[in-house]
Subunit: 166 residues, 2 copies
DNA sequence: TATAATCCGACTGAACTCGTCGGATTTTGG
DNA sequence: CCAAAATCCGACGAGTTCAGTCGGATTATA
């Protein structure tokens, strides 16, 4: 699953599309501006997302991207798998580290972890992320104690942040 | 947490030490031979494991490494954190991708995932991995239908194997 | 026909990872 | 006291991977 910044960008971009997809398709230029991701990079990502069947494209002027199915039916796992192609699985599946024909000591451990992570990300829908963003917005508006231009989010460097490079 | 092969090797090596640690300390030369990991690399790993307080070293001839505490009290998370030092957490903790002073759309998602993975690995003790290895051994001995030299473990390429590059 | 947009493959600079190497230090045994 | 066994340590390099760019092709609109 690999969990690189590419996957993170893809999820962010998909949320953006889901939030702005009324009738008109959403152009990558808009996403680029809103999310501060370079257009070229977005093109690369959405090529994969389209091939994976997560978005549908409309070419030409007035075109852009639509979600291929309702956001409630798209999971984060879907997005990441689409974008961060699995590398060669020949790590522990073959004779690489598994020594002398035996399954290596930790095989089951990593397999279990994989299943765990996958299940977690599979359980998070795009819709739920959109909802979360909306409720954050609502919360911020209901308590506008400072001018919006100066509001800086307080940094909260989670103890767990370094894990997985997030 | 990063989950690289370095972490995997460290876990494997720790299992090996736990399984062979009677009174005498275990030398890295033995671990190297049994687990097919280069000695130099093991030295590098065990330097970190020692600094993290997971193993204790005995120098000079007859020396080697002992577990610093009972294997039931060492988790996989401990080992991986000791070896795969956290990279710069400046991914989402600051203003990098979080744009315009707001928390980026996916912040909570990744934080939750981290916590999830960490909890999982925290729940797996070194002892449990040793037990699993022992029961695999017992199973293989109890059904010796073929000469041991020819027994090849059947490959079972899990569907989830590509995830995380395991 | 000009323009807005997706589409695509190749490429590069930078970072990171794996693993090595040479040597220093400590301790045991003869 | 000395040789050998072992840990200890920092630096380095080859290879790989990743993030992001670039130039241009294609498609559709107006």
């Amino acid at each position: 699953m690999k969990l690189t910044t590419k996957g993170r960008f893809a999820v962010t971009a998909m949320i953006d599309v889901a939030m702005h997809n009324a009738q008109e398709p959403v152009t990558l230029a808009e996403v680029s501006e809103r999310q501060k991701i370079s257009l070229s990079y977005l093109e690369q990502l959405f090529g994969k997302l389209r091939r994976a069947g997560l978005v549908a494209s409309v070419r030409g002027p007035g075109g852009g991207y639509n979600l291929a199915r309702p956001s409630a039916m798209v999971s984060v796992a879907d997005i990441i798998v689409a974008v961060d192609e699995p590398i060669d699985a020949t790590r522990c599946g073959g004779a690489q580290n598994c020594h002398e024909g035996e399954v290596c000591l930790t095989h089951d451990l990593w397999a279990g972890l994989n299943a765990h992570i996958f299940a977690y990300l599979r359980g998070v829908s795009l819709q739920s992320l959109v909802d979360a963003a909306h409720s954050r917005d609502a919360l911020r508006k209901s308590a506008p104690t400072k001018p919006a231009t100066v509001v800086l989010q307080e940094r909260r460097p989670s103890l767990l942040a370094p894990l997985l490079g997030v």
